[in-house]
Assembly symmetry: D2
Homo-oligomer: 377 residues x 4
């Protein structure tokens, strides 16, 4: 079975460490490889970066897509790692050309773009995975399965969060690129904290619980002087079944790294997961607590998850492996579409989740601006 | 130095385990002892319970106070452990009689009663400690001191919570007394979850941070069918300095016990504490995390806290010791008022915190009823 | 039911903080109280200390026992908190006089004394509890019950340890009394680290597993210059059923406080417990880990343990409560001997465990001196 | 910079999951790739397996080496993943041919082979990395650096362990290949538990502490009926500087996965690390505990380690990344030898550690057979 070949769009900038993360997630399993890229926004920088990375360079994404269409370049999928405001263009181009893709989140810059892209993907049926990396963690997948199976009953409440501290000071004034584009409305959109990490808490609340958010009451703050966008994001949300979700994120939690996690409270039990201890899932049903650990040898994983696991328990698959699982889901979709043998792809986030995430952030921004009034998605 | 003698009001019912907790907190240090009580609401039951406990019984609290006033009974302070709706009467009677007291929280049944009692206490200067047990935990006291000293800078955000699961099913229908009075508006007031445990999260947010809550936007839920009062309580609050606090509590978190805790995010660092791991305080200031442990031998405790510690590090003082510290604070106040030698009492919660707590719950109930509108305290 | 009255022997020195710990453990439940004491080795100091403590003083333990025998002093039991070399005298005197007692560990100064005392206790049937405080922790009791019930099968291996750091420097040269008597052979006996804390690891290995140690191979070290006794203690032991126990303790583990704990590996499962997180017991049987928590409401506690629990789950009973449980066991023995109503006392350590502990330390010292040769107990 | 090309020897069997692990560790960084293999012991199976893996197959390792020597195959290094008894042959052949290699541990089947191979590697200077995967964990590397820098003073004691439970029952009788070769003396050598996982505890004790083990007193057990080799391994060791190390491992710890870890106690502080929480290092120096986390952004990493880190803090690099770091060390050696630009390789285990590990296991086996007599390495 030959390796799938990937082409990257964006991700080559000095401050864009996530390009290298996708490169590794692509390569990890030995069944996919990065072969080409339009890594920067300027043509020259793009060609230079590709040379450094040791892949085939293109001046821009359209050129890469064209090369593929014309048969000059073998390609199986694209990886979009551009800044938020530059997702839509290449994503649309890929889908229109029929090229499957892994696209970074948030899916687009505006809800309108998201709707348009989603419609296109559904119409064309082009494989599309939204890179909500944490959903690739097998224990988060297990949480979702346990909810689906009714193991913890009807969902009443979700508490999901994301605490970071790296923007507790105005790093954007000290020249840090990652901080600059995130706090810049023209590149990051209507929300910084909400769009960047609030969406992770949102995915935990909805993708795991199986419940959509229907309306929100929000309070956004800009704590660090000089910022126009939020660096703190607090939402009380109503779920589709009448439950409540607390969805909160902050970038000013000094000393916190990527403290993302969730608690899901059902009528029969509770689930708790922490991204920084991604290897375990805490289940509470009554008398004693249960801790489930990652491991290919454990029977409690349904085949839909077990097929993603690489090693027996006690050797943890973590961040790169989680993202590799999303690439793996796209790979499975691609191979099965071709009639190749591949396990069933897991239901990782795609365009529906992308649209919902965009609408969620928009509703939260609006609610906060409107004194926390309950606002429909 | 002779032992202080205490008389208990309430606490003798079958389901009222907290009377026994106060008895132990009173006795622990060997400097105080429980000698008398009006333990039940009916005279006969009261006398019977006292006989079982091996203390001097009284048919009602007034009789006990009268016995003390007349010199028939030696008494140094009272402990009020009645249901919420029966705090005000005996508390007022004690204060008017000049008898110091430890009073269970919430301080009264209504904000009006709270204001009246607070005014009386301030006028008379009778020692009064509000039994917010967790504030007796030395690591929570240390958190408060670190904030006061500016160790973590200006407070921007607090996340404080209290997750319980014991009311996830309708135990009140199965005859459990603790569940019955808590879910009964006539005995528990306008809020069940908010008043019972939301107030603990509130104290964490305000007493530790040193910031009052000025207004709130709230969402209360009654998840278990048949309940009129909230069993789930979510508040976004504004702090006095413009910061934000998430204050949330729930009683439907299946399998959670007393998961109370807080995170305080300041401009120079962060604090995190969990009641179920009360022996440590997590401090984050940058490069590496710091964990502070309880222990009489540690220099990082200011004398105001060190004077409460009973043993060197590695042997944890926990729940009973925390409540004993509140009794100890009252003891110090009493002894110093008499000119006896005693260390300075710590600034544990008293009537101001009691009033604030009542107003907080009232504002939250109102806000929730008013679609989450921001509501002043 | 009237309170039991206790008299303390030793424990009144400036550096002898454990006297105050026993005082609190005695008082905690409100059913026992400390009323008298011969707290120091000199008569004057003894009388002075008692005055400070507010109890009836005696110049020496014999005088206190005599006062009780003559009816001048009401007393129900004694608490022996003298240095190691002064346990035997008062313990023997108490037993001969028929006074029940809680005796600090190690039980005596020499194995010979231990044998003699044990024989006397068995002959007279005087209630005797050896103050192995940690065995009073309900989760350690639960571990023992689970082994007894066969829940984890036949025991193959135990790993038990005690890491402390407080003697990593020569505090005895800086005048610290606790360090001085512990490192002084004339007061502490043939082993410092082994006798003081190795015995805790020994109790975990034997009392929990239900298996005696039959022989040992040991390596003792004196790391801190100037010491003649061990400050590091390592034993490989054979258990009665052919299993193996690693029993190790050290006082030079910089920054470690009272890191005592054990792992018990059986043919059907494993148990793990840490004194510094005494509120939980970790059980591993296969697919997922199980964590059991302390709490009066949990059905998994047999009545023999449940009868000791004071509060529902989520409010932890810790160090003082554990020691109070040992006082409680003595109290139950005393009350039942008198025909009073009291729950069945738990099988907490007594003279057999005391003798075994003395023999264990002796065998370890001998083995180490003999190049680790396997040495019978 | 072109990718290094690797050829794998062994690792293709059904039960040999570690071949796939090395494949991923090779591929992860996008700078190395697996291109060829002699994956099984029979020629046919070897060719078949290679076809499945999608790489160039060879009937045996010599054929692969010959193809490289003759220029038919581009190759930069070999990866040896054969059973223990088949390391020496291919390793020697690679070194003699001048092909760098990553070799699984234990390095050889006998100490004699180890000495011979080590001499050859030193003579030829062929890059050689011993695949002690855990030493690739950055926090274990940091521990070693802190010791080297004197941060925790002179080493007094090490406690290192490895608890597994997967061999608590006779899986070898149920046809599990992994269990069969490990418990078979003809394939695994003189020790099962000691050789397989005791060596990990040994590396922790010596590589991190910087102290060799000079002699040992050991007790090995075969708990599961029917086994001739040890499944439980306990060693008290003397370190080069006079310190003591407890080095213990077991395969019968029901429910334990890969609980490997160490505590290092020095005169100025202590270090503690757990493989199953590899992302953090616990440092104790006094007042409060310090927890160091993995993260490319942390200044406390010296450049020698920082150059291995792939992402900022909060996204953990774990098992595959650790092994990839060892491949990375070999890659750096190879590239620098060619004059290519590459960061300095870290001092990961190589032949000296391999020889020491073999001698350690031999001495432990001998000591145990000789009633625990102290035995020189």
């Amino acid at each position: 079975m030959s390796k799938l070949k990937a082409g990257m769009i964006g991700g080559g900038g000095d401050g864009a460490f996530f390009g290298r993360v996708h490169e590794r997630a692509c390569a990890l399993d030995g069944t996919r490889e990065l072969v080409a890229g339009a890594l920067r926004s300027s043509a020259d920088a793009s060609m230079e970066a590709a040379a450094v990375w040791g892949i085939q360079g293109y001046p821009d994404y359209q050129a890469m897509i064209d090369a593929w269409k014309s048969g000059d370049l073998e390609l199986d999928y694209a990886i979009i790692v551009t800044p938020n405001n530059a997702h839509f263009g290449p994503a649309k181009a890929c889908v229109e050309a029929g090229l499957p893709l892994v696209c970074e989140k948030p899916m687009t810059f505006t809800p309108g773009e998201a709707e348009e892209l989603a419609a296109l993907v559904k119409e064309t049926n082009v494989p599309f995975v939204l890179a909500h990396t944490y959903t690739g963690h097998p224990m988060m997948m297990l949480a979702r399965e346990m909810v689906k199976n009714g193991d913890i009953g009807e969902i009443r409440k979700v508490n999901s969060w994301y605490n970071q501290g790296w923007l507790a000071t105005a790093l954007e004034d000290e020249g840090l690129q990652q901080a600059q584009w995130r706090t810049d409305p023209s590149r990051t959109g209507i929300s910084n904290c909400g769009g960047d990490i609030g969406t992770h808490a949102f995915i935990a609340a909805t993708w795991v619980s199986g419940q959509p958010v229907t309306r929100v009451s929000a309070r956004l703050n800009s704590f660090v002087p000089g910022r126009t966008l939020d660096d703190d994001f607090n939402v009380i949300a109503e779920l589709g079944n009448g439950g409540t979700a607390l969805i909160h994120a902050t970038q000013i939690a000094m000393g916190y790294r990527n403290d993302n996690g969730f608690q899901v409270f059902g009528t029969k039990g509770s689930l708790e997961w922490h991204q920084e201890a991604a290897e375990k899932l805490l289940v509470r049903r009554g008398a004693h607590d249960e801790t489930y650990w990652i491991g290919a040898n454990f029977d409690f994983f349904p085949q839909s998850i077990a097929s993603y696991l690489r090693v027996p328990a006690g050797h943890h698959e973590d961040f790169f492996e989680a993202l590799a699982n999303l690439h793996g889901t796209l790979e499975r979709q691609i191979r099965r579409a071709r009639g190749e043998d591949a396990p069933e792809p897991y239901a990782h986030p795609s365009v529906d989740e992308g649209v919902a995430g965009m609408n969620f952030v928009k509703a939260a921004v609006d609610s906060s601006a409107n004194s926390g009034a309950w606002t429909d998605l």
